[in-house]
């Protein structure tokens, strides 16, 4: 054993309650901040606002589809609703909320003072925020001088040639293009920052093989951002050139190709799913071991499987295009590559199960959501394998079966882990615990709502209900299923409202958390809750993957087993 240097981890001598400041001072503080924790929080709050907006759009669509021949909203509005819902949820909820947690947690977990480039960090946030605002400004400014349409209505993957100027006059599509482009710039900026932070800012002893798996997964996610968001940026530049200066990239009359846009979009679009799900895996990697009271099973296998997912996910994009007619060669390749990606994903699921196995499981709300995630992600993966078989896909492509499949991933896996992360890290961020009783209500309500909506959504898909239909005839046999799906949406909304109430109430009345309420092992729990602006009074140094375990059990340090 090397020499032991006593280091005081909690040496915050600042007064407990600084004098109350004026509203403008507080506002100025947040607007000009370069602190990774504040920027992370702004990302999260901004994403939550858009989550509410995107969720409302979903509820409106479900009301419209609940009964046949319904005219609750107009067809034009319906087109805008599904476009805005998809774009919002992917670019302005999923990405910012995950980057928000990354921003907040990564420097704390690797024992750093801040991100590598604090100014770039603030820039990335504000440019993304501007993108989201621009997207919604289209409701006001989209009609512009033309008086044609308001919000974008071309669908979230905006297939050519629908986006050409002749078919989408006015400015609504331009708002979509610019908003997505700006969010892409912000995303790449944050990804650069995360890679530079993880590689260059680790505290002494924090080798790559000792980094918390959350940091590992964010590192991989960020590398994926470079190679997947950039193609989207390139495609958006081409689309803007087509729309503004009359070039012919996707103009079929001049020999351009609409299929090229599909390829470019899905080269981004499919890895994007993994960019969203890897941070969810990252949360699971931290939360499941803590509440199983065991170290994660198979740390190297987990990191390696994530790298595998990163690489394989770059070669599966055209499984979104089986119905285009790519020929047997391409169909076979993309079927097989899509199936292969389930291998590293399966490794992860087995490792989580092995972590649970024999552990003293504590069923906190965070753990309940994590266990829900495990089951639901498995089912989502199974329908994914079904859809990867190209003949099966020819039948069900662009049906509600596909919608049910990817919402199972996005809601059942990613959103469940995001909720879990909120229950787990809320005490660190605010210094107060979330109410467990309300949390359990939130979990069960949301679980029931989720399964009502998305289990039953598979069935109208199998019965032939296409996605994006405005309404349907009563004799199709889809009515009962749609009714169940829509009522599930109401239950989910109730659960989410309970969650929002819990967050607000606990901020003022929650039990005081203390530095380490979960008896956890990673560095963020060694500093106060909320952490001071400088994170750590003394730069920590670590000797194993679980520095706080070493601290609490000096007689049996983790390093002996690694």
């Amino acid at each position: 054993m090397a020499t032991q240097t006593p280091v005081t981890a909690i040496l915050d001598k600042t007064p407990a309650s600084p004098p109350r400041r004026l509203l403008f001072q507080v506002l100025h503080d947040w607007l000009t901040t370069l602190d990774h924790k504040k920027i992370g929080l702004m990302y999260i709050v901004y994403a939550l606002i858009f989550l509410v907006i995107g969720g409302l759009e979903a509820v409106l669509m479900r009301i419209q589809l609940a009964i046949p021949n319904n005219h609750f909203v107009s067809p034009e509005t319906f087109n805008r609703l599904f476009t805005m819902h998809g774009t919002t949820m992917v670019f302005f909820v999923g990405m910012p909320i995950l980057f928000g947690f990354g921003n907040y947690l990564i420097p704390l977990m690797i024992g750093a003072r801040d991100m590598a480039f604090p100014r770039l960090n603030a820039f990335s946030f504000w440019i993304s925020a501007f993108g989201g605002t621009l997207l919604y400004f289209s409701y006001v400014g989209g009609s512009g001088l033309y008086g044609a349409g308001s919000a974008p209505d071309v669908g979230w993957f905006a297939y050519a040639p629908l986006t050409a100027h002749v078919f989408s006059p006015g400015h609504s599509t331009d708002y979509w293009t610019l908003a997505v482009l700006l969010s892409g710039v912000g995303t790449v900026g944050t990804a650069v920052n995360i890679v530079a932070t993880t590689l260059c800012m680790r505290c002494p002893g924090m080798k790559l093989s000792r980094m918390p798996l959350l940091v590992w997964l964010y590192l991989i996610t960020s590398f994926m951002v470079f190679v997947t968001i950039s193609p989207l940026t390139a495609a958006q530049i081409m689309l803007m050139l087509d729309r503004y200066v009359g070039s012919h990239f996707f103009d079929t009359q001049a020999g351009g190709s609409a299929v090229l846009w599909m390829h470019f979009f899905w080269i981004f679009g499919h890895p994007e799913v993994y960019i969203l799900v890897l941070p969810a895996f990252a949360f699971a990697n931290e939360i499941i071991p803590v509440f199983s009271r065991k170290a994660i099973f198979g740390y190297p296998a987990m990191a390696a499987a994530s790298v595998c997912i990163g690489f394989i996910s770059l070669s599966v994009w055209a499984h979104h295009m089986f119905t285009v007619g790519m020929g047997p060669g391409a169909n076979t390749f993309f079927t097989l590559s899509t199936m292969i990606i389930s291998v590293p994903t399966g490794i992860k699921i087995f490792n989580w199960l092995a972590t649970l196995w024999g552990g003293k499981i504590q069923f906190t709300t965070a753990m309940l959501f994590a266990i829900g995630f495990l089951f639901q992600f498995l089912i989502a993966g199974l329908t994914g394998i079904m859809l990867s078989v190209s003949p099966f896909n020819w039948q069900l492509s662009a049906s509600y079966f596909v919608i049910a499949h990817f919402h199972y991933v996005l809601v059942g896996a990613i959103l469940f882990m995001i909720f879990s992360a909120f229950y787990y890290w809320y005490p660190k961020i605010t210094g107060r615990m979330l109410n467990e009783r309300l949390g359990k209500w939130h979990f069960w309500l949301f679980l029931i709502g989720f399964h009502l909506t998305f289990d039953f959504m598979h069935i109208p898909g199998l019965l032939g209900m296409p996605r994006r239909v405005y309404t349907y005839e009563a004799d199709r046999g889809w009515m009962m299923w749609n009714m169940i799906v829509s009522s599930g949406a109401i239950v989910q909304t109730a659960g989410t409202l309970l969650f929002v109430f819990n967050m607000v109430r606990s901020y003022f009345k929650g039990a005081i958390a203390g530095a380490d309420p979960w008896d956890a092992w990673t560095l963020e729990w060694s500093t106060t809750s909320p952490p001071p602006e400088y994170n750590f009074a003394v730069t920590p140094s670590v000797a194993s993957r679980r520095p706080l375990w070493d601290l609490k059990h000096p007689e049996d340090p983790d390093g002996n087993y690694e």
Binding site: M1, A2, T3, Q4, T5, P6, V7, T8, A9, F117, V188, A191, V192, N193, V195, A196, L199, C200, M201, R202, P204, G205, S222, F223, V225, F226, V227, T228, I229, S230, P231, T233, A234, A235, I237, M238, L241, V245, G246, S247, H248, F249, A254, G255, G256, L260, F264, I267, G514, A515, D516, P540, S541, V542, A543, D550, L551, K552, P554, G559
Partner: protein
């Protein structure tokens, strides 16, 4: 919970991490490469698919001289970094100046080529698929040259005012990495547009 953290730590081990500037530039280059790859793919995909003229064979000429200028500017910027590393500040300014000059010549040659194409051959971005892909790919590269030249000129300005010392070697190195990338992309663009596409 204990108030004092006793964290095991071996002082003999030297803790060395990579430079964040270089890591960040490498990441940026990775992201930019992905953008260029998409434009190159679009270019290659549309070779010979234009429904009307002019074709590349009719109007494009090999820009040998300007390519040599741009590629040799990679060498000069490297010499500038080495000179700064050895605290030869005068030499550094000289090499930086030469880099800016060579980059400027390249840009001027591109401008002349475009002028020729637009006013004499009647090829604009609207004309056909060749025009669309040619102007966007070469224009994207030229945009990167402009950004690089701006940054290099700033460095030159600092160097002439005596503000650039050997402490700044790493920063200049980061900038030179970007410039090497811009030059490397030109090799690809040259091969695709002027050799493969003609």
């Amino acid at each position: 919970m204990s108030e004092t953290a006793v964290i095991p730590h071996s002082p003999t081990e030297v803790w060395k991490l990579p430079s964040r500037g270089i890591v960040a530039m490498a990441c940026l280059i990775l992201a930019e490469s992905a953008i260029f790859i998409i434009f190159v793919v679009a270019y290659v995909f549309y070779i010979g698919k234009s429904v009307s003229g002019p074709t590349p064979r009719e109007v494009l000429e090999l820009p040998i001289f300007s390519s040599i200028c741009l590629l040799s500017s990679s060498l000069t910027v490297h010499f500038a970094v080495s000179a700064l590393h050895d605290s030869k500040r005068g030499m550094c300014s000289l090499w930086l100046g030469l880099t800016v000059l060579l980059g400027g010549i390249f840009l001027a040659a591109t401008a002349r080529e475009w002028y020729q194409l637009i006013y004499h051959d009647g090829l604009t971005i609207k004309t056909n698929l060749f025009g669309t892909t040619y102007y966007s790919l070469v224009g994207l590269h030229a945009t990167h040259v402009v950004v690089g030249l701006f940054m290099l000129s700033l460095a030159l300005l600092f160097s002439l005012r005596g503000g650039l010392t050997s402490n700044h070697t790493e920063r200049l190195e980061v900038l030179s990495l970007y410039w090497h990338f811009v030059d490397a992309v030109w090799i690809v663009v040259f091969l695709v547009v002027y050799v493969l596409g003609r």
